[in-house]
Chain length 205, copies 2
DNA sequence: TAGATTGTTAATCGATTAACAATC
DNA sequence: TAGATTGTTAATCGATTAACAATC
């Protein structure tokens, strides 16, 4: 029986991946160790080794990890060997910023479709993409087999859009709407609400 | 001796607060229970009661919690009884979106200053605020006693801006730069990187 | 070889849950 | 009163850390 890998471990793998890419591309390093990686991320070396050990043996005693090899392994584990088409719903200020964000490139994602319900926005071009009428959402998601979506719509529309995305097969959703959304089993949802993050920090002020 | 309250508990309080405000303002409810709140947030009722019990006794057996009272208590705990002035560094697409975001209002924060280094951006107006030269950063932070900042600058500038903010007294930083930042003890930092969130979810695809 | 670092085990630490007496 | 729900205790569950044999 395959042991279930803790969610919290999965959550750290992208952090490791991001730092490894930095080490390789920006600093030209070939090898690293759990100690060096942990030092840079504020994570204990033991935790990094333990996390990786869930998936295999990627290092060598004495020399540590070959960075490029570990990057490849993490990409396979996280299913980042292909580029995922992403549907972006909401073309307001935030949608606009996301549409222009270069950070998706080379990290496994490409925003391929943008939707909005505002007639003034529909037809507008955002970073090479034409904003589509949100009524076309289901058709586009199905035809392009889209599994990943980003929601940047008002609170009042967020649950409806979520339900519609899920109904046509989307299984990973990143929502910027500041509200808890309900999704069925098997659908992953992640939230980004700057106020929630700031409020956590003001406790310590 | 005051018992140290776990960080993970603090992190859930803003979620409770957000939902309570929704219950009160949007749905007009007066009372709620740990069960109802938990149901809506996908959190066990026992956990909610345990979390709150770190700070006092806010409920009544039989009837649960008076929502407005609990909201007030959470606001005090999280230091949200005043409105925090926030310095936003970076006036690119994302900074622009943040400057126009209405979600800060009534939740304890107000973006009061926007900085950028680009001469084309400096002097521009964003949602009533004039983009300031980032060379004025320290002066403005000190003079206005700013403790909270949001970073929306490129990776290459993020650590430098962080250091400068910290050096003049900022103690809570929300960074959108996709890189781990180093801050001294006593400074809180929080990250928002959509790609990290998406990569965590593609594991399950 | 000597030094470094892995992967893994066992111990420790911390968080969540179940259960229930108290009581509104 | 009967029903509901709290705050809290103890048990359970899960995650982190320390330590080290193995070995590059």
């Amino acid at each position: 029986m395959t042991r279930e890998i803790p969610d919290i471990v999965i959550g750290r793998l992208p952090i490791y991946l991001r730092e490894l890419i930095r080490l390789a591309d920006d600093e030209g390093k070939i090898n690293t160790s759990s100690h060096e990686l942990g030092e840079r991320l504020g994570i204990s070396s033991a935790q990094i080794r333990k996390d990786l050990s869930h998936f295999g043996e990627f290092g060598k005693q004495g020399t540590g990890y070959h960075i490029k090899y570990l990057i490849d392994q993490l990409r396979e584990i996280l299913h980042l060997t292909k580029e995922w088409d992403v549907a972006l719903v909401g073309a307001g200020y935030l949608g606009h910023a996301l549409a222009h964000y270069h950070g998706f490139l080379h990290r496994g994602f490409r925003i391929s479709w943008i939707f909005d319900s505002d007639p003034n926005k529909i037809g507008e071009t955002m970073n090479q993409l034409i904003v589509q009428d949100v009524s076309e959402l289901e058709k586009a998601v199905v035809h392009n087999n889209i599994k990943v979506a980003i929601i940047a719509v008002p609170i009042s529309k967020a649950q409806e859009i979520t339900d519609r995305l899920v109904s046509v097969g989307v299984r990973s959703i990143l929502s910027y709407a500041p509200i808890h959304l309900t999704v069925p089993e098997g659908v992953e949802i992640s939230y980004s609400d700057p106020v929630i993050q700031l409020q956590r920090m003001t406790y310590y002020l």
